[in-house]
């Protein structure tokens, strides 16, 4: 499903985002991606949906090398990948329906069909009744669920989440996590980048730990497992760093 071979990303100016990463993520897996700020989590995700290009190495998504994908084919790749961000990235002047209906519209669905499709997707995230609301009328958790609905509307093979619970309180984070688990149960491969070690501990599954752009650990944990010391230390170090400095804004390599 997703394979990385010796993937390195060096940004202009020499900052290393990822360093010789090798890994394979099978179809239908839920994978947590963790590590301190600047470890390369966001870079990792951006490389998969081709927001960034690898400096060297190969990234195969469903057998296609996305590193060598021509620019005009990137949109077609992105239609198979849903992406969710910490900052939701909703358009404030558009309704919930309009926010999530971009893809159905560009795929040529009629108005009725778009609404039906949006309704069904919003029902999956428990927001069918807020279809005509504007983002400012929604809570943070609801806004994130709209963002998830937007990512899910084309039933993607892969769902990438970059700190999706970062702006939410623990209860809402729990709610959003449950949603991701449900989505994963329906067969979607999920890569969930997070700082929240409690969340990782509670759910378990596969945990990839990045440090300085390198894959430091690749653990398969059952739910309720206490994280191995190195991963735990990595998360703690990350927490310390977070306490010292606020989150890097979206768009910077992280």
């Amino acid at each position: 499903m997703i394979e990385l071979y010796q993937v390195t990303k060096v940004y202009p100016g020499g900052q290393v985002g990822l360093r010789e990463v090798d890994l394979k993520i099978e179809k239908g897996q839920l994978v947590f991606l963790t590590g301190p700020s600047g470890a390369g989590k966001t870079t990792f995700l951006k490389l998969i949906y081709r927001e960034e290009m690898a400096t060297s190495g190969y990234i195969l998504v469903n057998g296609r090398n996305v590193s060598s994908l021509p620019a005009n084919k990137v949109p077609y790749l992105r239609r198979t990948i849903g992406v969710v961000f910490q900052s939701f990235r909703l358009i404030p002047r558009k309704t919930v329906f309009e926010n999530i209906a971009y893809l159905p519209r560009l795929l040529g669905m009629g108005g009725q069909e778009q609404r039906k499709h949006a309704y069904e997707t919003l029902r999956r995230v428990g927001l069918a009744h807020r279809m005509n609301a504007f983002p400012r009328q929604l809570s943070g958790g609801e806004q994130q669920r709209v963002a998830i609905a937007r990512a899910l509307i084309n039933q993607p093979d892969i769902l990438l989440a970059d700190e999706p619970t970062g702006n939410l309180d623990p209860e809402l984070s729990e709610e959003i996590l449950r949603l991701f688990l449900e989505i994963n149960l329906q067969g979607t491969t999920v890569i969930f980048a997070t700082h929240d070690r409690e969340l990782i501990r509670r759910v378990g599954r596969r945990v990839l730990t990045l440090e300085d752009g390198q894959l430091a650990r690749d653990d398969m944990l059952p739910a309720g497992t206490v994280l191995p010391p190195s991963a735990d230390a990595a998360v703690e170090a990350m927490d310390d760093a977070e306490a010292a400095a606020p989150d890097a804004p979206y768009g910077e390599p992280g």
């Binding site: 949906y49 620019a71 005009n72 990137v74 949109p75 077609y76 790749l77 992105r78 239609r79 992406v83 990235r89 358009i91 558009k94 926010n99 971009y102 893809l103 519209r105 560009l106 795929l107 040529g108 937007r150 084309n154």
Partner: protein
């Protein structure tokens, strides 16, 4: 999505953008209106002057003045020479009496002048009408030289001399109009490009989301192209409307004034009006293309047909 569906979407989004940013859109439309209106005024003036020039050229004659008291044989010789003219249409002898009558009709206040000149104040002449469109310079010039050299001929008056000077003036005017039109159009393109760039900036969050969910560049840029096109089209329609209104007003109010009559004799043809509107729409589209290139929204727009096939 088919190309038709995409166009419907583009037009709808462009209309929303135009309404939301109506003030800047109006500025862009007015800039292009002024440009095309001034361009249209110059076109109208040059068209009318050229039409008048063509009319004068068609009516222009070659007048061959004979010496006073020239004998019949000499007249016959000159006439025979004239009849060898290239593309001759008509030749007519104007006797001194008729020449005097014409002079008096044209300048009645100068009647005294003729009286002082005795019996034959004006010489006989031949008026020669040629089909100027068929006249070849290589044949005409030697013929004219031969005619002028005849002893019975005192002067050959060619109307085309001053018509050529007038034509040169019209060409200069057209050149100036062309340059001015280009400058004004470039201003309009720049204004529209700035407006579109501003709109693209205002919608950058939406563009980012569209790109994220897999919208092609064609789909992202389409509404902006159509927005520029509509602004240009609006400017073109407004300019032609103003031209028509102005022409009608001028015809009604100042039709008797010589200069005005030279400019309003005929209005622009439907083809020219369509071209003016198309120029506006094209300038708007160009403005949008320039603006989005500057904004570097992403990769080059894809081939819409290929895109439509893959949807």
């Amino acid at each position: 999505m088919s190309l038709f569906q995409a166009l419907i979407y583009f037009f709808r989004e462009a209309a929303v953008n135009l309404v939301r940013g109506w003030k800047v859109s109006l500025l862009a439309i007015l800039t292009i209106t002024v440009s095309l209106f001034l361009g249209g005024v110059f076109l109208l003036a040059s068209e009318n002057l050229r039409s008048r020039l063509d009319q004068w050229r068609d009516e222009s004659r070659l007048v061959v003045y004979l010496d006073t008291g020239v004998e019949a044989a000499a007249r016959q010789r000159v006439r025979a020479l004239i009849e060898t003219a290239p593309a001759l249409v008509e030749v007519q002898i104007i006797e001194p009496d008729e020449a005097s009558e014409r002079f008096l009709r044209a300048f009645p206040s100068l009647a005294d002048l003729l009286e002082g000149w005795g019996e034959e104040p004006l010489p006989a002449s031949f008026e020669v009408r040629l089909d100027w469109s068929q006249v070849e310079k290589e044949r005409f010039d030697p013929w004219l030289q031969g005619l002028s050299a005849d002893v019975a001929v005192t002067m050959v008056d060619d109307d085309r001399d001053w018509l050529e000077q007038l034509e040169a003036a019209v060409i200069v005017l057209e050149g100036l109009a062309f340059v001015l039109g280009l400058v004004l159009l470039a201003t309009a393109v720049f204004t529209i490009s700035s407006v579109i760039r501003l709109t693209a900036y205002l919608y950058h969050d939406e563009i980012a989301v569209m790109r994220l969910v897999g919208a092609t560049e064609f789909f992202i840029r389409g509404p902006f192209y159509i927005e520029g096109f509509l602004q240009g089209l609006g400017g073109g329609l407004l300019a032609t409307g103003l031209l028509a209104g102005g022409h009608r007003l001028l015809t009604h109010e100042a039709g008797d004034v010589l200069v005005a009559s030279m400019l309003i004799d005929r209005f622009l043809s439907p083809g020219q009006l369509v071209a003016l509107v198309a120029l506006g729409a094209g300038a708007g589209l160009l403005g949008a293309i320039v603006s989005l290139r500057r904004e570097n929204l992403g990769a080059t727009a894809e081939n819409p047909e290929e895109w439509a096939e893959q949807e």
